[in-house]
């Protein structure tokens, strides 16, 4: 299960494992330990079996890959280690036919970000993909997932999450065989673990800042408050510009702009 910090991949793996346990299946959920940051790509794993799961290792060749993030869903790495004939469930607004990942596997898509934004009001896509998981794989019943969700999110939050699961269950399409059969030659590693300097964090963003230079009054607020130095200041024109590969999309600049010259736009997935 691939996602990014804050989207609830770890919680989703636990919900699946708990739901399977409710149905009498042996289950196990483990997150990959690293430097989990909000916004940073991370992976969590689930094992389901009829016999007791004794393995304690990470899953290296999964049967099913679930991708919680629309930008990670574009990267070949999410399907690279799948068993032949495996299944990938992507969070993307595209149809399964339009997915550009190559290999021998089945593809299913669900627009979980939109579902999450409309039912929860926040882009936490973990529960909004679980309904699709239940329907497409048939491994779990919807009721047991709902039961497991109430265990993790009691009260109103649980009700909202259940609404997201139900909607995703209804909207999920049947999986099709992948259209592209060959994997692209160029590959990007999705894991940016460890401390230090990263190359590119543009895939961390859900919202991208866009500057309207005509409205800008040159107050330097965006420049001075950017934690990642993603905003460059041009002293001659007194205008900012954005280094998009350093921007994590926190929205600080847009929030601090006194004249609203910066707008946060949703990334096209």
């Amino acid at each position: 299960m691939h996602g990014r910090g804050g989207q609830g991949a770890v919680t989703a793996s636990r919900i699946i494992a708990t739901a399977a346990y409710e149905e009498g299946t042996y289950s196990q959920a483990i997150p990959m330990y690293g430097t989990e940051r909000r916004g940073a790509p991370l992976t969590a794993f689930v094992r389901l079996d009829d016999v007791r799961v004794r393995e304690r290792e990470l899953v290296h060749t999964p049967d099913i890959s679930i991708v919680l993030d629309p930008l990670i869903a574009k990267q070949q790495a999410v399907v690279d280690n799948l068993k032949p004939g495996g299944l990938v469930i992507l969070n993307t607004a595209h149809k399964p036919e339009e997915v550009e990942l190559g290999g021998d596997f089945k593809v299913a898509t669900i627009d979980a970000t939109t579902i999450a934004l409309e039912t929860l009001g926040r882009p936490i896509t973990n529960t909004a993909i679980l309904g699709a998981f239940a329907k497409i794989t048939g491994l779990l019943k919807l009721e047991s997932i709902e039961k497991a969700i109430l265990k993790y999110f009691p009260g109103r939050l649980g009700e909202m999450n259940i609404a997201a699961v139900r909607r995703s269950y209804e909207e999920a399409s049947d999986p099709i065989q992948a259209v592209v059969t060959k994997a692209p030659a160029e590959k990007v590693d999705i894991h940016v673990g460890g401390y230090g300097v990263l190359k590119d964090v543009s895939s961390w963003r859900l919202l991208t800042p866009e500057i309207d230079v005509d409205t800008c009054i040159g107050c330097k607020n965006c420049w001075i408050f950017c934690p990642e130095t993603a905003i460059e200041w041009d002293e001659d024109t007194m205008k900012p510009s954005i280094r998009y590969n350093a921007c994590k999309g926190c929205g600080l600049c847009a929030n601090e702009c006194p004249v609203d010259a910066i707008e946060m736009v949703r990334v096209e997935a």
Binding site: G5, G39, G196, W204, E228, W233, C250, E256
Partner: protein, 297 residues
């Protein structure tokens, strides 16, 4: 005491290499960026285990939590031995390394008046390991080790007043700063850089993940912390001379700082009133000390 600067005086050159591995909207990464921008290149940075904030172009060395003060002492004495007065030993520690685990080493270094500059990014809990309480955590704050439930209302005790504890070592310079006031922060770091002896600046660094607010509001939260009087900006020289740097005519109500943060969302009106009263009392003491220009310890 530091001189006021304007935004146009802030150097354009950056000392940080980005993008780093901090979370979105990280206050500590911003604190590192602003502080090292003011310090320039002739700095040896010291680190102890803490959140990964901005990586800087300066040389860096690190040790265990408890060794922070000792490592700094070694560097500063070594620099003195080889006659490099121009290079500064600078620590960039978290609140755990300053308030709790690293406290004894730093206290000893302060007592010996070692020639070091200690910068603390205070995000008010052990955020790197998942929001465990530290002695920097404010009262009623919900953390993973002080959860809210039928028998617990979050952290039961007040935040430790570390700036005053270090001021009581009669060191040359102790100050508080906030990422919400970058001019003030940079002025203080620039001033402290060229002083001799033990200098300490504690920087408020809001943490969107642990304090539980939208990452876009980091500066709003930092600023309201100062405007409500919960994070006063001041300088103390030689343990006696005192100056408040931010003096509004009237403080904003503390609820303005507490309500956007979901770590305080369980607080009742009585509890908020208690924090308000406590803040007002402390603020009165500070303004009186500011009028006198000195602390009466």
């Amino acid at each position: 005491m530091s001189e006021r600067i304007t935004r146009a005086q802030i150097p354009l050159s950056e000392m940080t290499i980005t993008p780093g591995s901090a979370c979105q909207g990280c206050g500590a990464a911003l604190a590192a960026r602003l502080a090292f921008k003011a310090l320039g290149p002739n700095v040896i940075r010291h680190g102890i285990p803490c959140c990964p904030d901005s990586v800087t172009k300066t040389p860096r060395t690190g040790t265990v939590f408890e060794g922070g003060g000792a490592l700094l002492t070694g560097t500063s004495r070594g620099l003195k031995a080889i006659g490099r007065d121009d290079v500064k030993a600078v620590a960039f520690y978290g609140d755990g390394g300053t308030y709790d685990i690293g406290f004894q080493g730093l206290s000893a270094a302060a007592e010996r008046n070692e020639d070091v500059l200690v910068l603390t990014k205070d995000n008010e809990a052990y955020m790197n390991t998942g929001n465990q309480r530290s002695s920097a955590t404010p009262k009623y704050s919900m953390t993973s080790t002080t959860p809210v439930g039928p028998k617990s209302r979050g952290k039961p005790r007040h935040k430790k007043n570390v700036p005053f504890i270090f001021a009581a070592h009669y060191v040359p310079y102790v100050a508080t700063a906030s990422v919400g006031f970058p001019e003030d922060l940079i002025a203080k770091v620039t001033y402290a850089k060229d002083l001799k002896g033990f200098r300490m600046i504690i920087i408020q660094a809001p943490c969107p993940v642990g304090w539980r607010y939208d990452p876009a509001k980091t500066i709003e939260v930092a600023r309201s912390g100062v405007q409500t009087g919960l994070w006063p900006l001041y300088e103390i020289e030689d343990g006696q001379n005192f100056k408040l740097n931010y003096k509004p005519k009237e403080l904003k109500p503390v609820s303005e700082y507490l309500s956007p943060q979901r770590r305080f969302r369980h607080m009742t009106e009585d509890e908020t009133a208690e924090i308000q009263e406590d803040t007002t009392t402390k603020w009165d003491t500070l303004t009186r000390a500011d009028e006198l220009g000195r602390l009466i310890i």
